[in-house]
Symmetry: D2
Subunit: 338 residues, 4 copies
């Protein structure tokens, strides 16, 4: 039974069906097809405002292209120390932006707080010698499975805007955050001040599709050109757009996230004090000890180590297609182990 | 009836079936899945040598990542003036390489000849003031629908290697070239001196899949890191690999190309002296005059203008799924028009 | 006697004296010194308009920083095929801009003509697939020692502006152009539509100083940050500014250029039909034949070959400090040779 | 009386004299002059080993070019949190390298310790998802005026080399470090494992000159090309080389540093417990309180605030040309203030 990552999951049948349904007759390539042409309207309806939405196939592309659009090459991108853009994208923000510098800020449970962001912004004068504060990037849900509340986002975005920064949200697990708060997606994005959102679908059931959603549409031409030259404008664009349309229009995005969240909650409920972070999305982090981890692995449970080497920490990620019996089995094994 | 581009085509049923077949159970992400793990062997068998093969989703990514691996930021990439990397990738080679300069060389019918390449290489001394000759990029089939013979490639590659350059082949329509010459794919690649090949599948029936095939495997670690940071390593990599495996193992790559080539030949045979370039792959370029083009369009034929504005040139591209009646109908209309 | 390049020249005594004069007491570094603070006013007075002027130490830095400010990473820079930025800056425009593509245009005697620039701009539609036309770069005087007239610049700049391009002038030998036309420097720059000028001093007597002069001042903050991160903001900036002030305020820029031009004219007058280009600035290009070049070299004259290998072409460059007897001696030797 | 920075200093008479002495007759440009040609030998003699040495005009250029030579675009550069390359070069390492990421490590008094570097290197596995550890950059003397001992450097370099990293030293104040330890410059560089040193002269008496000294000479061709395309190869290179030759051959580098260090020591000796860092080079950091700082400023002493806003910290930097009376006056004022 594997709890490695929601990336190990299959593609949702509804998504595959949408791809197959799009496979009828010729279509103008590079996004001038009827599927891609509907993205703005469908995403706009979802978020309850006017948007420009662009399909790409990976979260790294979505994040790095969005950030490059917001940040000059001499810009500074403020973000939480454990963010995916810091640790898992092989320097993509630096590459796409032409050298922008990541400014890492500590934050409990993967979240940033206004006070520490304000301190980072105040840490030195903005003069020609330093990189120029340009963007704040928040991750929702965070890399540690926690979720920002609307007011928290609004406070951070307001602070950032007050310093002239644009605000990006890495929403690879945005659906899980919405599902946890049971709120309107607009509350966690534009209404709270987000300028650009990487709205993930891949981890939550798509084959390979992420929407970059611009609430601030002034910069979209720049984005389109950056996407093209980065090789992220697919010729047969309809198949990526079709995934996103099915994901949004069928409500799949919310259902899949709800199920994965529920499984995580179930697991979290038996872990008690060994939990390292509140379980709010579809990830569970626990201090189990190396011995107990070994026992679980011997019993056939697959999951990643977390934290420093031999720290005894483990991460369990629930996928949209996690078999029903997996979590009960893991809970039972945890009860046995130790 | 549309002859815009092979990019307007649908995805082959066999490719879709392979994607669906890969949609079973969890798989380790980012290429550690069984499908991706077979790419080296399957592509190696196809080419008849040891290769390292990497899947990406676009031709621009394949070309630019390959070139960035071959070329330092201060490098010069020699290529034919009308090559796709020059005109249709929004400067991707410059972006991925960190500023390498394209050196454009004239060449008849989209092809380079050793004499002009030699002249370009000799045009100035290699000193610290100029960009450093680093790579030669050939397009096979060319942007003008013509095909290099093995000996032509060998002569160009040998010249390039003699000057210390690596040789890249943009094979977005490589299958069409092999189909035209009815040869072994090795003859047009490593046996003729190609170091890295962008082996296209998307235009020829895939949903979105290209293989970057390294015959010179020394640089693959650099490639892998560049691919990751460019956002071109898909988390659910199995679905791209599965496309390539089906494309190669079923012989689809050759069959689809043969059909499209045959349709182009059929069209070319009625165009006589108005043909602008030999019809060797799946593209037909003709001097029709603006009036005749207008008549064809009124009759429902869709195709792109070519050449300078109002030059009367037209491009017709045959797709793997071109309906049977399209070409006869176009031939008839051409007979009527004028 | 050497005619290699005006780069082989010494530094003018007036310039050295200005450096020494600036060597009094402490000065705030990085351009907040009294010398640098006067650059805008002194250059503004020279050009007869409001400018923002920035000192750097090399022509490559001046050109590449200016172009990077005018051009997005996916931009196209149109320029004459033999321009210094194409052949002698090791790809600096691509590096500083993050990958912009140089678009090379033919032009007689090193000059561009509106017709060929218009053709280049019209060569293909501006869509997301191609690099975006962003800047036109003119060299004045050109790499072949010729000079654009004000009306020629105005025609080119107007054409460029009409297509949304900014216009840069590489004025490494701008003083020589002004001296040749005996005009006001404003006529060859902002009045003719130049947006940014690299105003050279190094080749014409400075130790190492070039001014980047912005007539369009909207982009100067971007320029300042790019200059800093490129390592081209000197801490002891006063010594570069002092060179430029002495160069401009003493009239040195014009006097030195006049002398070098006159020497070139003198040499040109004896070369008759072997002249390859009109002698308008301080460079002379001649078709001498390899034999005659050998004779001159045996007689102690130093100069560079030009053109393709063994083409018999030679380049002679006059420096501001060329000894009086050099040109008569060379003229005599030319009369003897053959 | 100003204690802002050693950048506010004048140029040493000996350096100006050397520039004037180099101002005789023509010289081949771009480094093929007799002054530049002697750099390797003169710097090699100074360090007691074979070196390749290159002149540039700024510390930012020296550091960023050196680091770009050591680091691929997807590389990670480990350095102390307060290093100049982090805070004061406007992202130059990211620009020159094409996006390398700075990995900031805490360290007391501006120095790194092996344990924290080891922890940073062990913090996560080296896989394709993260930037690749490529270089360690040490600052000597540090930004906080402290000095690494030879054994400390050796321990750090050995650790770095053991992980496959190259080791760079930012020696903008290297002379001050050597003067403090009264040791051989080789002991603080190649003998301790440094691969490339930015050997500063500008802050210590030059007009604008830094030597990039390669002890590991394998990468120098890459460096030369990067320098050229960055606009840091001066045409009249002799004037930068002449500065470095005078700086080294006359012993100026050591004498100037000794004097500035002695002045700092003198000031440090009266500050007692308010000293924030050991005074080992030419900088003094003190916790004075905002009130006392105000009193000093009213009395005509100029210096920079340090640390967070209103933290009461001050930085005093001694220049090679600091007037004799400055430090006694400051000491007296400090005794009065409070």
């Amino acid at each position: 039974m594997r709890f490695y990552s929601d990336n190990t999951a299959t593609t949702c049948p509804e998504i595959l069906a949408a791809i197959a349904a799009a496979n009828r007759g010729p279509a103008i390539p590079y996004g001038d097809d009827p599927w891609t042409q509907r993205l703005d309207a469908v995403l706009g309806a979802l978020f309850g405002t006017t948007v420009r939405a662009f399909a790409v196939t990976t979260g790294t592309a979505a994040n790095a292209l969005a950030l490059a659009t917001l940040t000059p090459p001499y810009g500074a991108i403020f973000t939480q120390r454990e963010a995916h853009i810091v640790t898992d994208e092989c320097g993509a923000p630096g590459f796409f932006s032409g050298g922008a510098q990541l400014m890492l800020i500590d934050g409990e449970h993967g979240r940033l707080a206004p006070a520490t962001v304000a301190a980072a912004l105040a840490a030195r004068p903005v003069d020609v010698h330093g990189v120029q504060p340009a963007a704040l990037s928040l991750t929702q849900a965070t890399e540690l499975g926690t979720v920002y509340r609307p007011a928290e986002i609004a406070a951070l975005a307001s602070l950032a805007h007050g310093h002239g920064l644009k605000v990006h949200m890495d929403g690879a697990r945005f659906a899980n955050a919405v599902a946890f708060l049971d709120c309107h997606p607009g509350e966690l994005s534009w209404r709270a001040g987000i300028d650009v959102l990487s709205f993930g679908a891949t981890k939550n059931g798509a084959l390979g599709a992420e929407a970059v959603v611009f609430f601030d549409t002034a910069l979209v031409r720049d984005f389109e050109l950056r996407r093209k030259r980065a090789g992220h404008l697919l010729s047969k664009a309809r198949y990526v757009a079709a995934q996103l349309l099915a994901y949004v229009e069928s409500g799949l995005w919310r259902r899949n996230a709800q199920r994965a969240n529920a499984l995580a909650r179930q697991l979290g409920s038996v872990l008690g004090p060994s939990l390292l972070h509140p379980v709010e999305a579809n990830e569970v982090f626990a201090q189990l000890g190396e011995e107990r981890k070994g026992e679980l692995r011997s019993a056939g449970f697959e999951f990643y180590d977390w934290g420093p080497q031999a720290s005894g920490q483990a991460r369990f990620v629930m996928s949209w297609d996690q078999p029903e019996g997996d979590v009960p089995a893991l809970c039972a094994a945890l009860a046995r182990a130790r």
